[in-house]
Symmetry: C2
DNA sequence: TCAAGCTATATGACACGTCATTCAATGACA
DNA sequence: TGTCATTGAATGACGTGTCATATAGCTTGA
């Protein structure tokens, strides 16, 4: 009972610790080298990953813990930074279809290497 | 190489997922039942845990990933809510010594039960 | 004992996330 | 086809976290 609770809390703290250490490390590295944060990278990564299918915005919302409005704002920033473009979708004019620009694709390629490297350093 | 990267990313995603699911669940539960957030609870928990020693503020900063200024603000809110009090420290008048109020202690006791319960539901 | 530096905390500006709301487009059904 | 509900996305108000700084108290050494 008490020991179970203790173990639970221990387990939770270790998850928190791994999460904070790693996400801060990624964030700092990406911020320093590419001037984008972790969430920006995650979106770039998702878009890069699924460069086939259309109508992304919606899909992104489903693949990330971020809110729809958060996604919208991250995409704003990426678009302003010239890394990503919104295209309207022919078959459903409410939907938007996202695509990396050349700059975005290039940056993502480098950032992904960095990202994996930081993961390697920080995860068991 | 590629497979290692893939595994790394998988591992990272699973940590992220566990972290988000669990922290959101705790946050919602505490927010709904006790009107405090996760960080507020963590601070209450830390203070409750070490109710012996003095000059807490500093010590808290070392036991949490939060920034010193974040801790200061969380303590502000807890103090405003009447759950916690700052006492000045006799031997070093820069330091502050934190103490749960009766209300704080009572709330922490209940909230801790809830906290452990949510952990149990969300962790393997 | 006084200056210079260090330490503990608070505060203000700012970035970013959430929630609630809005708006346009779509679907469904009479 | 016209109305009503629903869906995809954007926006504004707001809370909370971070960084840089301010402030007060402590310490050290001449």
């Amino acid at each position: 009972m008490a020991t179970t609770d203790r173990q639970l809390v221990e387990q939770w703290r270790s998850i928190q610790d791994a999460y904070f250490r790693t996400s801060c490390a990624i964030d700092r590295a990406l911020e320093a080298k590419f001037d984008i944060g972790l969430n920006e990278f995650e979106i770039l990564d998702l878009v890069a990953e699924s460069s086939e299918t259309a109508c992304r915005m919606k899909a992104l919302g489903e693949r990330t813990p971020m809110t729809q409005s958060a996604v919208s704002k991250v995409v704003d920033r990426l678009e302003r930074a010239g890394l990503l473009a919104r295209h309207s979708c022919a078959d459903d004019r409410r939907s938007l279809f996202l695509e990396l620009t050349d700059a975005g694709r290039a940056l993502h390629k480098q950032a992904a290497v960095e990202h994996r490297a930081v993961l390697k350093e920080n995860l068991s």
